[in-house]
Amino acid sequence: MKVGVVVFPGSNCDQDLIYVFDKILGQEVVPLWHKDHDLQNVDFIALPGGFSFGDYLRSGAIARFSPIMQEVIAFANKGGYVMGICNGFQILTEAGLLPGGLLHNTNRKFICKNVYLKAQTQNSLVTSAIASNQVLNIPIAHGEGNFYAHADELKRLNDNDQVLFRYCDAAGNITEEANPNGSIENIAGVCNASRNVFGMMPHPERAADAILGNQDGLPLFESILKMVNA
């Protein structure tokens, strides 16, 4: 699998994603510079976390206009696999590739901590290898991660099995207390209707390296490898 990691000015998780794909998963990975138009024949595109263009406006609102994003959008519309993590998720919603939007956390603060997640479907590229009762301990780090979708959209997401992850407690219960940022229905990640574009606020790349004492993010990457290489 050849992975492209988009680098916007202000991206700061790009190297972490590259490290996981390259050093831990042993895949070919190339950075895709925001000013370029060449996707270098990648099989999978990842939009990393960070503060693209400073995120002084709404998060992701400027990055979607980057030259590379024109190509990413075309790639996704042709069925190519695109995944956004944290700021990458925000950019994909701004670009209209994913439904919903990300609001300020309800406590109006940046929150960085480990949270628990449960996959809500196995019918996706990023969750196919995750058991439905498996509780994953994955960090979040964001100020605007409060997922919102209006009622019709939310119904479509649920009806079409587009919710990838919900926040839960250590025992796997999806409760209000386990919701770190106010996301509607505890939603932590979604995919589009065609199931080729994915977004999530938690950072699986921060839970992939054994030396950090937490590899709960690995099943997610293994799902991707299994499907793309299949």
Partner: protein, 750 residues
Amino acid sequence: MRPNSNIRIKLENNNLTTLETAKDLGLRPEEFEKIKEILGRTPNFTELSIFSVMWSEHCSYKNSITWLKTLPKDGPRMLAKAGEENAGMVDLGDGIACVFKIESHNHPSALEPYQGAATGVGGINRDIFTMGARPIAQLNSLRFGDPNHPKTQWLIKGVVKGIGDYGNAFGIPTVGGEVFFDECYHVNPLVNAMSAGIVKVGETVSATSHGVGNPVYIVGSATGKDGINGAAFASKDITEDSVNDLPAVQVGDPFQEKLLLEASLEVIKTGAVVGMQDMGAAGIICSNSEMSAKGEHGMRIDLDKVPTRQQNMLPFEILLSESQERMLIVVEKGKEALVEAVFEKWDLNCAIIGEVTDTKRLQYFMNGELVADVPADDLVLGGGAPVYQREYKEPAYYQEFQKFNIHDVKEPEDLKAVAQHLTNHPNIASKRWVTNQYDSMVGTANMVTNKPSDAAVVSVKDTNKAIVLTVDCNSRYVNADPQKGCAIAVAEAARNITCAGGEPVAITNCLNFGNPYVPEVYWQFVGAIKGMGEACTKFETPVTGGNVSFYNQSSDEGPVFPTPTIGMLGVMDDINNMMTLDFKQEGDLIYLVGESVNDIASSQYLASYHKIAASPAPYFDLDKEYETHQVIKQLISNKLIQSAHDVADGGLYIALLEASMPNQLGFNINSDSEIRKDAFLFGEAQGRIVVSVKPEEQEAFVEFMATTETEFSLLGHVTGGSLLVDDESFGSVQDAKSTYDNVLHNILGE
């Protein structure tokens, strides 16, 4: 190139200054005389402004350098020693070096907590990457007044958000720090920020300037009117008039800083850079003079070529502006295109503003007219900047504090109430309200996220090494006894690094004190330096630099506790040597390594439960402490212990609780009949470490300990969650954790 006589006459007749102006700019009468002597004439306003900032305490260290020079600064690992570059550089082995430094942003944070703290983070990181190192970890040390006071809450919320917003967007994890509350910081909070970066040996850049005709670039943000005279502002007491200094506070832009980081590291790779220095305190003039003095050259600068945010900025404003996110770069002539391409790629300003000359003078032109002409060397520390010996005098309180006797303090009957009091105290309780607002994990190198440890352990990618970092200073101890208290701060830092499995290698310091012209304050400073020197010599941790922040005192409330914050760097050659602080399993044995002492002096317990401020520093024996650390190192490398946690604020009880909470375990211990039980549980005698040992390793552990001179005692064992002392229940770990975790939330809100 010297100015011709016509220009020179114009310079002299233009806006000549008086002693009054000099005083207004914070200069002393004798300093004004010295400036006239250096120039051979009366300075104009621009020149006087230059001297006023460069000779401010903040830039010149004029009231501290005599004593700072007594500190140990040599060591086998030192690649850049104190005063040589923007930050200290330490050899980690295998061609890797660590650049690290701590700096204060106290005065700006007192007035404008958000921007004050944010720009503190920005400034310290620029000190690291201006040397070519990529920052990989940040820490901070924060001190505030009573957290229940509305003004303090405004300060805490602003400072924490400022640090978070800047550091999070910049994308370097905040991996450690300390937060301490005491009334003495009510007017003057302390905001100390530390950063550490990694660079390959031989790929660093120096803050120097040479090569006649080489172009001088300013890159990064445009220059505005923010932060003018900030260094001078930081060099005086805070009074009600300080509100007029608000324009001296700078405004930060972490996005620009992130771009500047990437562009700066990329431009070094071109091989075109002669020297580079960031612009922080005292702006362009500081970088120009320090680089020129170091490289023994001069500069000719056209101020009208500096990109500005406002129109019609005056020469002194451009020179002194502390606008953030800027760098000065001297480039090898002929390689301009290589440099400009990098800044073009990152969409950053990049302008040639002058060139290197052989005059050793700094000559500033505005629209072709010479507006200032000063010798570089006379502006800087180690050159012509003044150096003062200050008077000092032992304050009356010191002897009073020494008279303290534990027998005069009645032992409380209900020690569970004391335990509850401490668990519920903001100085002891969890700081997660603060730390969860910082991105502590970006960079995927922070090894303590899931493995709590006494110090931050940050892996160095593509090696098997980690750097180990901590910031420590119990300022109550330093106030009680500056010399001993500061030695304790160094020892505690070394203890934390050692307990995490690291080897202490060097320190950086942030010396926060009151007004140096007050002899009793200066006595605290001198004592602290002596204690730091002794302890750093013992631990073989040279002082690589840092900063001095005097004038942390207000007109009505006096000085803050003397607070010499120690930022220590340790190295771990093999990340598998990492040690954690948490109890692992029910049934493991709990030992205390180090001596139990009948001492409650300067403890949190004595200060807040008994409300007794007059007591000396706690028990401390530097030689024994050092020996204990060597023992702990061997226990870790021989894999004889499951956990190691030092006994610090709150004493043994709190240390045991902290070791219990991560895995929801508890402890069952017995006290020592020879020591008062309150001292045993809550005293803060130094040099003690709680370790846990698997039952099957007990024999090997005891055998090993018997070969050492260090005292040790069996305290008890790890339980499934109950907290027991002498068979008396102190509650459950769940209840204690629920209290401990929510103290700051209850005070500060969600």
